[in-house]
């Protein structure tokens, strides 16, 4: 089974919600995760941020939908880390 352990998004977002609110909203959808948000550039109405999420078994669709719902736009996925866990049925 393939599990996502880390994923880094390049996101364009409005100033509101703030970085703290944005990262908290993403973390709320990914229990047990660590979310890190770095502001890369600030414009009049928007800001570019690098959103790094680390955890066990992250769900890509949940995270991307949350980003879109918060008004963000995913420019790229800059980094991913996945792990291949052997199926429990095969090991048992």
């Amino acid at each position: 089974m393939i599990r996502i352990k880390k994923i880094v998004f390049d996101v364009l977002k409005p100033h509101r919600p703030t970085g703290l609110e944005f990262a908290s909203a993403v973390a709320q959808k990914c229990p047990g995760s660590v979310v890190n948000l770095n502001v890369e550039a600030v414009d009049q109405n928007t800001e570019s941020v690098l959103l790094r999420i680390e955890g066990e078994g992250l769900d890509f669709d949940t995270i991307s939908n949350t980003i879109l719902e918060l008004g963000g736009s995913i420019h790229s996925v800059d980094e991913v880390e996945v792990v291949h866990l052997p199926d429990s049925s095969a090991t048992g």
Partner: protein
């Protein structure tokens, strides 16, 4: 429900708008009732049914006016803000939290703007209503309502002072002076 309201207010930064509408139209309602009460007192009207009818009619008109004017202006303002944000983000944001806030907030703002004068008006005329329902009051009904109106306007002043960081007591006194000046103008006009 409240979480959603808090989120939308956070996204749009509309706390200040809500506060402004609450105070501005609440003050409108308070002064309108004060004017009606002073007018009825000077005209010597004693029929409480007539007084209640006129005051409730004015309160309903203030509520409907407050609701419709705030909804129309806020809906237009929020749509404009959303369009500007969509241009900056280069995408449709109708389904984002911003799009939902732009549809939901005008209703909330309109509700606050409509209800604040209505509720304040009902509070101010409550002694008249109590007298009409044969409750015993320490003062005649119009005088009681006049004092309640002054108290409510003083409280609104205190609220403004608390929000602005201004001395709350002087903010209350300032509101009270406005109320007394309004009453004095009405009394003065009565002698023309």
């Amino acid at each position: 429900m409240f979480d959603r309201a808090r989120t939308f207010l956070g996204v749009t930064g509309a706390h200040g708008i809500l506060r402004r509408y609450l105070v501005v139209n609440g003050f409108d309602g308070g002064l309108t009732m004060l004017g009606l009460i002073v007018g009825f007192y000077l005209s010597g009207t004693t029929d409480l049914r007539v007084i209640i009818g006129a005051c409730v009619g004015a309160a309903v008109a203030l509520a409907v006016s407050g609701f419709s004017s705030a909804y129309i202006s806020e809906a237009a303002e929020k749509q404009k803000e959303l369009r500007e944000l969509e241009q900056a983000m280069i995408k449709d944001m109708a389904e984002s939290i911003h799009g939902r806030a732009s549809r939901w907030l005008p209703v909330l703002v309109a509700f606050v703007n409509g209800m604040s004068p209505f509720v304040i008006s009902l509070v101010i005329i409550s002694p008249i209503w109590a007298a009409y329902m044969s409750f015993e009051l320490p003062l005649p009904p119009l005088e009681s309502s006049f004092l309640v109106a002054l108290a409510v306007l003083f409280m609104l002043g205190i609220y403004i002072g608390t929000v602005s960081g201004f001395n709350w007591f002087w903010a209350g006194i300032r509101a009270l002076i406005i109320a007394l000046v309004t009453s004095a103008i009405i009394v003065g006009l009565n002698y023309l």
